[in-house]
């Protein structure tokens, strides 16, 4: 029961976060939201793993956490000089995070 409650909460949270991801307004809001969504996914995988009695899902959760982190770093690294739809200042240093 507690797992189900937790998973329900995570799903609700996911929906809330998704609305932010869709609303933006800046690309950074979206990145933040996607990152949070990733964290929630890690949580969901773990909870569902318990719920279904398949703890091997935890490996998957860990992998997901890793990819979430690296993905966020990569996107923030590229966002500054790629200017995905938002004005960047001339002084921005491409290599900098």
């Amino acid at each position: 029961m507690s797992y189900a409650v937790a998973s329900a909460a995570v799903l609700v949270a996911m929906i809330l976060v998704l609305t932010r991801a869709l609303k933006g307004p800046t690309v950074f809001d979206r990145i933040l939201a996607v990152n949070a969504f990733g964290t929630l996914t890690v949580l969901l995988i773990a909870v569902v793993g318990f719920l279904q009695g398949r703890p091997e899902f935890l490996d998957l959760a860990l992998v997901y956490a890793l990819i979430n982190f690296i993905g966020t770093i990569a996107v923030t690294k590229f966002i500054n000089f790629q200017d995905m739809g938002h004005g960047s200042t001339a002084e921005s240093d491409p290599g900098d995070i």
């Binding site: 507690s2 797992y3 409650v5 937790a6 909460a9 995570v10 609700v12 949270a13 809330l16 976060v17 609305t19 932010r20 800046t26 950074f28 809001d29 990145i31 933040l32 939201a33 990152n35 949070a36 964290t39 929630l40 890690v42 949580l43 773990a46 909870v47 318990f50 703890p55 935890l58 490996d59 959760a61 860990l62 956490a65 890793l66 982190f69 966020t72 770093i73 923030t76 690294k77 966002i79 500054n80 200017d83 938002h86 004005g87 960047s88 200042t89 921005s92 240093d93 900098d96 995070i97």
Partner: protein, 117 residues
């Protein structure tokens, strides 16, 4: 794992999971209601810290084997290290792109513009 009455473990789990869920939802609401991306990072912070932690700790009581508990701990540790790092990187990226925080007073407004130096 030491043999403990599952009933107490369940109680413990509930004690952790419910606050965790509440914080999770609050953090998400924060991500929606807070004024700008910097402020929303604090909402995300709630999710990444107590929201996640409480639920995972709650699950640990149900682990049933050391190995599962250890894996949960590893996830916790990993998020513990990476989540602030990612948030920090994102904040830097915002400043790098010229997105400055909405702030309440003049001094910090000036600071925020210099913040990326």
């Amino acid at each position: 794992m030491p043999a403990v009455d599952p009933f107490y473990l369940d109680i413990l789990t509930w004690l952790f999971v419910i606050p965790g869920c509440v914080l999770l939802i609050i953090g998400c609401i924060g991500m929606i209601t807070l004024p700008d991306v910097f402020a929303r990072m604090h909402g995300a912070g709630i999710i990444d810290t107590l929201g996640l932690e409480l639920i995972l700790v709650g699950l640990m009581f149900q682990a049933g084997s050391w190995i599962v508990a250890v894996k949960l701990a590893l996830i916790l540790a990993f998020v513990f290290f990476t989540s602030p790092t990612a948030t920090h990187a994102l904040a830097r990226a915002c400043l790098g792109a010229g997105v400055t925080p909405k702030v309440d007073d003049q001094q910090s407004a000036a600071l925020s513009r210099r913040g990326r130096s």
